[in-house]
């Protein structure tokens, strides 16, 4: 395929993908009556009425805080957990390593949420943390841990072991020094990619939050939007405004993308 054919095809596909998102964001910022009467006129003035309605919904602010808190906490905890574990998987041999690695790498795919929810629900309700952000946090960690672990192992595999050996010869003799001064600077950017991935997994997760939060106070934004969409409350303007609020972080990534080279994101997700 000629390069210009590639370019044109890629650009047109990209436009097909991005147009619906931008269309929804624009529609969310418009007045409902003008949206229904004349959907295609873009010159009608922007109104923030719908956004105001969304923000003033009784549960919106608490669900937004829940969502952000969950995403940040679960990515930080998962990264702290996987750092030693994936380093161990990558560097050392220990008994039953093969089985433990396989179980940990495949457990997300083998034990999917719709199956695992039953024991989790029962155990969490016995501890009395059903219907709370703590319960959802535990399930989100369990959900993204294996995935993060497999990526973490790939990240550490990409750091040459010779570097550590040279550092040890040169009198770097505490584990902390070795990690923070020698290894970590090399994988900083991959860690940013990993952080974005885990953040996204928790941010868009629906099932666990939907089951575990039985009252609206402990729900997350996808649950709020899901119940709004599936319930009787069929007000396009408000639903669109809420969706456009959820699309914005993704579009924000596009702006960030000039800073984070795609390469680093890729190297953090590459499977080989």
């Amino acid at each position: 395929m000629k390069l210009w054919v590639r370019k044109i095809l890629a650009i047109s596909f990209a436009i097909i993908i991005i147009t619906p998102l931008i269309w929804v964001v624009i529609s969310g910022l418009r007045d409902v009556s003008s949206l229904l009467n004349n959907p295609f006129s873009l010159d009608s003035d922007l109104s923030f009425e719908n956004l105001k309605v969304v923000i003033n919904l009784p549960d919106f602010s608490i669900n937004l805080i829940n969502s952000i808190l969950l995403a940040i906490l679960s990515s930080i905890i998962v990264i702290i957990l996987i750092t030693p574990i994936s380093y161990t998987f990558s560097r050392y041999n220990f008994p039953y390593k093969k089985y433990i690695t396989t179980i940990s790498l495949f457990s997300t795919y083998l034990l999917a949420p719709p199956v695992l929810i039953f024991p989790y629900f029962k155990i969490l309700s016995q501890f009395g943390i059903i219907n709370s952000i703590l319960g959802i946090l535990i399930t989100h960690i369990a959900f993204s841990l294996p995935f993060a672990l497999s990526i973490g192992k790939i990240i550490y595999d990409s750091v040459p072991i010779e570097m550590e050996k040279i550092a040890i010869i040169n009198n770097v003799n505490t584990a902390r020094h070795l990690f923070f001064k020698i290894i970590f600077p090399n994988i900083k950017l991959q860690y940013i990619g990993l952080f974005i991935l885990i953040f996204a997994i928790s941010w868009k997760e629906f099932f666990y939050a939907f089951i575990i939060s039985t009252d609206s106070k402990s729900g997350t934004l996808p649950v709020l939007l899901g119940t709004m969409y599936s319930g009787e409350y069929n007000h396009w303007g408000v639903i669109l405004a809420c969706s456009s609020l959820m699309i914005l972080p993704a579009l924000f990534l596009l702006i960030l993308s000039s800073r984070i080279k795609f390469q680093y994101f890729l190297s953090s997700t590459s499977k080989e």
């Binding site: 395929m1 390069l3 590639r6 890629a10 596909f13 990209a14 993908i17 147009t19 998102l21 269309w23 929804v24 949206l35 229904l36 957990l81 030693p84 161990t88 050392y92 220990f94 433990i100 179980i103 940990s104 495949f106 083998l110 034990l111 999917a112 949420p113 719709p114 199956v115 695992l116 039953f118 024991p119 989790y120 155990i123 369990a142 003799n173 868009k204 629906f206 099932f207 939907f210 089951i211 934004l221 996808p222 939007l225 899901g226 969409y229 599936s230 396009w236 669109l240 959820m246 993704a250 990534l253 596009l254 993308s257 080279k261 795609f262 890729l266 997700t269 590459s270 499977k271 080989e272």
Partner: protein
């Protein structure tokens, strides 16, 4: 130094094993144990019923129907996910100006919650307000109701492909970028056609990645809850939207028949493990 290292190995392995067993092995054992009990009425003691949960699940036609609809949905969806991911990866794996922004656009849907994807496509195809709605009427398809049960399969397909092709795109792209450019240079110098270059160089290089990717996508899509539920499942029952996950949800959280749900979940786990072992047997020589 060696001493520090050995001590660290032991501590870290114990840590790893504890966390993994707490999060995965213990819940599965708990699930297995509880699948032999029937939930006591009004907070009473759980009653041991042996295998009867399993028998009642296997005797109901719903499980076979939900497995069938899962298989239909998964196979259709995975084909399109991988096809789109592969073609976008092939379009953007060579460098040109602005390729980074195109790649970011191709993974953008990965960051959208399923609800938002459902709303986007419902809104776009809406006959009254959507941009595609008028177009669909004009080309003779007629007004499309996204919530119509007869459209549920296509709607599920659309949503699941749109939200999961980025995963395929990223995996294939990262593998494509590992192929040395020298191969392409050589084939260009020898005047080999683009189709032949793809068949002889590109495809053999990404074949293993494709197999593993398809496998992962089958496992993930096969037991997905949010797509069938949010497209149609919340409104009622329909052949295509009653997948395994929705069925398990219904017996446990709508009919509160937790004993049967536990047994059903156990059966699904066993099924997945059997299929997984078969896969490993067939593709044993390929590395992951």
């Amino acid at each position: 130094m060696e001493k520090i290292r050995n001590r660290n190995i032991i501590i870290l392995s114990i840590l790893a094993f504890t966390i993994l067993s707490m999060l995965y092995i213990f819940p599965v054992v708990y699930l297995f144990y509880n699948s032999f009990f029937e939930k006591g009425i009004l907070g009473g003691q759980d009653r041991f019923v042996g295998l009867s949960n399993y028998f009642s699940i296997l005797n109901s036609p719903k499980i076979y129907q939900s497995i069938l609809s899962s298989i239909i949905f998964t196979s259709a969806s995975v084909v399109f996910q991988v096809a789109f991911g592969l073609s976008f990866a092939i379009l953007t794996y060579r460098k040109f100006k602005g390729v980074d922004i195109l790649r970011w656009i191709f993974i953008l849907p990965y960051f959208l919650p399923t609800v938002v994807v459902v709303i986007i496509w419902h809104f776009i195809t809406d006959p009254v307000v959507g941009i595609l709605g008028d177009f669909l009427i004009n080309i003779g398809v007629g007004p499309v109701d996204f919530r119509d049960p007869s459209n549920s399969f296509l709607a599920m397909l659309l949503v699941s492909v749109f939200e999961s092709f980025p995963f395929c795109f990223v995996l294939i792209l990262s593998r494509l970028m590992l192929i040395s450019n020298d191969y392409y240079l050589m084939s260009m110098l020898d005047g080999i056609s683009a189709t032949k270059t793809f068949a002889k160089i590109t495809f053999p290089e990404i074949k293993n990645t494709l197999i593993i990717l398809i496998w992962l996508r089958i496992l993930i899509t096969g037991i997905k809850f949010d797509v069938p539920y949010l497209v149609y499942g919340y409104r009622g029952q329909n052949f295509f939207s009653e997948t395994i996950a929705v069925w398990l949800y219904r017996i446990s959280f709508e009919q509160f028949n937790s004993g049967s749900a536990f047994a059903g979940a156990m059966i699904i786990i066993i099924l997945i493990i059997i299929v997984q072992i078969l896969f490993l047997k067939i593709f044993k020589k390929r590395t992951i």
